[in-house]
């Protein structure tokens, strides 16, 4: 079960620009970044 730390309801003006990290077409910047970090980690550990 997931728990939520907090919810905020905003009324905003001139909000953004925003970065969408997860879109509805399967794009996920966080997952991409994690894969890159993992690959970099392996390389770093080999070179240590």
């Amino acid at each position: 079960m997931h728990s939520t730390e907090c919810f905020w309801v905003y009324e905003v003006e001139e909000f953004g620009p925003l970065t969408i990290t997860i879109d509805t077409h399967g794009g996920n910047l966080t997952e991409e970044s994690k894969k890159n970090i993992e690959a970099n980690k392996e390389k770093i550990l080999q070179e240590l």
């Binding site: 905020w8 970065t19 970044s33 970090i37 980690k41 390389k43």
Partner: protein, 294 residues
């Protein structure tokens, strides 16, 4: 001469320190975040750093917390032998935490496992706020308030590294810990590493290492060179600002070493989000307060 109520001075000072820590970053942290925004080339990373810096600026000018997570409170206290108060320091700091919760305000972050949120940042079973007490010579009392966010505490790690792996094993574990933190804990990070002592001491040392001003390296040259090496290595992970791969991953790395048991090589890694918050003051025996440079 009217004698000051020292306990009251401690309480008032600590309320001020919690407020300062929550609303204003130490100068060198502010400066490096602005420099990072200017030097980051990718628009994605630059926009994250711009948002962070704008947030920091507004928090400071409006005197409002820079993050909704105002942290779990801990105090690092050095008590001089001739300072008039001892255990009353603790009482005053607990009172200060409750007052600051109302006044700043701080989000109530002390949750009891069975009774729920205490609503005042003070645990009902003791321990929170957490105290690091040290006894020192002299007649002063130094207090540093450090509220630490839950997100970045969630990625802290401890490992009993096989001693045969030596310093290479230490470096490997730091790389693994920061890579595992990845985008999860609001980077760019400051990384505190504690080596030696025991399984508890290495974590304490790692947290304490975060209090050293950024870019002030260990006085032992051999340790300083490892700090700088790790800073360079960890940035090759390309975590980037808010984990999006652009801009700095890590702002600085600080290490503290204790002696270790021959059979053990404990390594603690405590990670701070970009909002590396702490504020300190020294109070003398007459109750005069000197704020530390912030």
């Amino acid at each position: 001469m009217i004698m000051k109520d020292i306990a009251q001075v401690i309480e008032d000072t600590a309320v001020g320190l919690l407020k300062l820590a929550a609303t204003e970053l130490p100068t060198e942290v502010k400066e490096v975040l602005i420099k990072s925004e200017n030097t980051t080339e990718g628009a994605l990373g630059k926009s994250q750093l711009h948002a962070i810096n704008e947030n920091v600026r507004i928090a400071e000018s409006e005197i409002k917390p820079m993050c909704q997570d105002t942290g779990l409170v801990s105090f690092f206290v050095k008590v001089g032998d001739k300072f008039p108060l001892k255990s009353e320091i603790k009482t005053a700091l607990i009172k200060a935490t409750k007052r600051a919760t109302e006044k700043v305000p701080l989000r109530p972050n002390a949750v009891d496992m069975f009774k729920g949120n205490t609503n005042n940042n003070v645990g009902i079973r003791g321990y929170v706020p957490w105290f690091y007490f040290d006894l020192v010579e002299g007649d002063k009392c130094e207090i540093i308030a450090m509220p630490k966010g839950g997100g970045s505490s969630n990625v802290g790690k401890m490992k009993m590294v096989p001693p045969g792996k030596g310093i290479k094993g230490v470096k490997e574990f730091v790389v693994e810990a920061v890579a595992a933190a990845g985008p999860l804990a609001c980077p760019p990070y400051t990384v505190g590493v504690g080596v030696g002592g025991g399984e508890d001491m290495c974590m304490n040392l790692a947290k304490k290492a975060l209090l050293r001003p950024l870019f002030k390296y260990h006085e032992d040259e051999s340790i300083a060179s490892i700090e700088k090496e790790l800073l360079s290595i960890l940035n090759k992970l390309e975590i980037g600002a808010m984990g999006l791969g652009e801009g700095p991953s890590v702002l600085d790395v600080h290490m503290e070493f204790a002696a270790r048991h021959p059979a053990s090589l404990p390594v603690g890694v405590v990670i701070s989000c970009w909002a590396l918050r702490h504020a300190g003051a020294t109070i003398d025996k007459e109750g005069n307060v000197e704020l530390h440079p912030h």
